[in-house]
Amino acid sequence: MSRQTGAVLEGARRRDFTQVVAERGVIVCTGPGGVGKTTAAAALAIAAARRGRRTLVLTIDPARRLAQSLGLRELGDEPHPVAGVDGLDAMMLDMKRTFDAVIDRHAPDPRRAERIKTNRFYTQLSDSLAGTQEYMAMEKLYELHASGGYDCLVVDTPPTRSALDFLDAPKRLTDFLEGRFLKLFLSPGMSAGRAIGRVAALSSGLFLKVASRVTGADLLEDLGEFFASFEDMYEGFKYRAQAVYRLLGSHTCAFVVVTSPETPALREARYFLQRLAQDGMPTAGLVVNRTTPALPAALSGLDGKSVPAAVSRLNEGGPEQRAAGALLRLAVDRASVHRRERQAIAAALHGVDPKALVEVPLMATDIHDVAGLEELGAYLVRA
């Protein structure tokens, strides 16, 4: 580790998320899958609510883990007050309903909206078009923010493989909808809108010839209509997508990257931090969950050399001796894991400034209630 990285990390370790929960209007928790994004989001939301701010935590996680960690049996798609935390609501994103609302808002008339919503591709689009879920999450976030009902919105992001898909999602969706390829498909030289339903007229394209041989013609007809129906909505989508992107890039917003100390997760976290910086997004810090803390100061004198001999002597003895031997081994292993984790973190953050770096030790039990979330929150917000 270079001296410079070391200094940056030491500075970052002294900071936390106190200001973020006290001031920011939107907090986005992002990071690789399975590292505790949802619990981090819930813990930050509780901290914001405890400061007297009207707070909503929004999850898009289909596994309903937030519900689990908030001690709720179910999370509806309407804000739902969290028992035991004044001023905190929780809700889960309902993809289908959000998408329906987007169509209703952008479609030129209800008849057109209805036609889109009954198209057989529509219902599956959310699953198949990369980034749709992320787009809808940001859409909902924007809507909630614009409605002004909350002082602070905390959201987690889906564990997408390509890390920050949600940043690209609005752009991807609009690029896709107005894409060159799509126009080629809809018909050469004709604007998409005028092509509604006239698939026969369009099938002169080389691609269409291939495509209809591969898939059958009726499929293409539905598809043509589907995309044509979208044409009137391009502008609306694009405008909205830009507004979402502006909100995310403003200082109302804060990004918290969450990871675990395993190398693959750290590698992704590094990419997230770099990507956020590159897009000029306001990064608030990095949370490394499930870390192995350093041994307590009283044990820092345990040295690796004298322990093995003591352990073998103790292992010859009675139950108490063997217990003492096992404790020594445990302590030495723990210290070594801690050192390796620190090295991995430093290596992953080489040349990257995480702003704040909070290492949360692996809890003795899983978090599944407000008390557990507050325990986690005490690491994220120390003041």
Partner: protein, 327 residues
């Protein structure tokens, strides 16, 4: 079901909640299978380059390469898979290259739901069916590092969805063959990886139910990163009952280990470490019981390897463990 028969399958699909180490398990299984003389291919479908890092090879792509004796690997991406598919049907590189333009796959993805997944699984099916000139099957075993449990059902259901959506034509028959492969319990097993922690276990229980509903054969459950017990029954009891810091300090001194001025404080810190460890072991045990109660699946426990997370050491060690349970 018998764990030993695991390697009799033709296709193993490995999944698990994010962060549980499914890639490590997939890699270790592949190493173990190759060591046991099976011509094996390890497949990556999410383009994360986890295996090229793990095995310290050049980045993986659509070309199958033998990176260890008897062990091949490739990374399937939908673009390359689509190009290959079109070439197969329509010959002519020019056409397939035209179609596989920058937005073509994006288009295809939206055009037929899940077609990306169909293309990925379709390539796996092609590999599974491939025969050498002498008529023998090219690979003995194919191991896929599949998407995580949150997406696995959608991934495996994609071919069936394609058959429902596309009535006729080559895509339909292709997709049907893929469905046949996935639902054939003799040829295909889906393996889940979990940790002995609440959320991964809860997700595993849900995933097993959904996978069984889909009709796939769910193979043994791999329980990763199991903490070592470290205490035998008597010493655990000694610790849990009343091992006072003063007594512990004395025991350590007898074994020539001097904790220095901080003796008592150090001993009580040691004791706390031990008690926290026992609590985690207890949680592990509870999770084992949940798995036993909720899932009718044999389990294979894999020890936590200190600091060797997703390293080739861990893979080699796990492969050795597998070789023991599978023979």
């Amino acid at each position: 079901m018998d764990i030993g028969s695991l390697l009799d399958a033709r296709l193993l699909i490995v999944t698990g909640k994010g962060g549980v180490g499914k890639s490590t398990v997939a890699a270790a299984l592949a190493v173990a299978a190759a060591r046991m003389g099976r011509k094996t291919c390890l497949v990556e479908v999410e383009g994360r380059q986890a295996f090229s890092r793990l095995f310290e090879t050049a980045p993986w792509d659509f070309t199958e390469r033998e990176f260890r004796p008897g062990l091949w690997g490739l990374s399937i991406d939908p673009d390359a898979s689509l190009a290959e598919y079109l070439e197969m049907f329509y010959g002519g590189r020019r056409l397939s290259q035209l179609v596989v333009s920058s937005t073509a796959v994006e288009f295809a993805t939206a055009a037929a739901p899940g077609i990306k997944d169909v293309l990925l699984v379709g390539k796996v099916k092609e590999m599974e069916r491939r025969r050498d000139v002498d008529g023998r099957l090219h690979y003995d075993l194919i191991i896929v590092d599949a998407p995580p449990t949150g997406r696995i059902v959608r991934f495996l259901r994609a071919p069936e969805a394609a058959t429902e959506l596309v009535g006729v034509g080559p895509i339909r028959s292709q997709a049907q063959q893929v469905v046949d492969l996935l639902l054939n319990g003799q040829r295909t097993q889906v393996l889940l990886v979990t940790l002995l922690e609440e959320m991964p276990v809860a997700e595993t229980v849900d995933a097993v139910a959904a996978l069984r509903e889909l009709g796939v054969n769910v193979g043994p459950l791999f329980v990763n990163r199991v903490l070592q017990e470290r205490f035998d029954e008597q010493s655990r009891k000694a610790l849990a009952d009343d091992l006072e810091p003063a007594e512990l300090t004395a025991l350590l001194a007898e074994a020539d280990l001097d904790l220095g001025d901080l003796g008592l404080e150090a001993a009580s810190a040691l004791r706390d470490l031990g008690m926290a460890h026992l609590r985690r072991l207890e949680l592990q045990q509870q999770m084992r019981e949940v798995i036993e109660r909720e899932l009718d699946l044999p389990t294979i426990e894999l020890p936590y390897v200190y600091g060797a997370e997703l390293g080739s050491e861990a893979v080699t060690m796990l492969a050795t463990e597998f070789a023991q349970v599978m023979t």
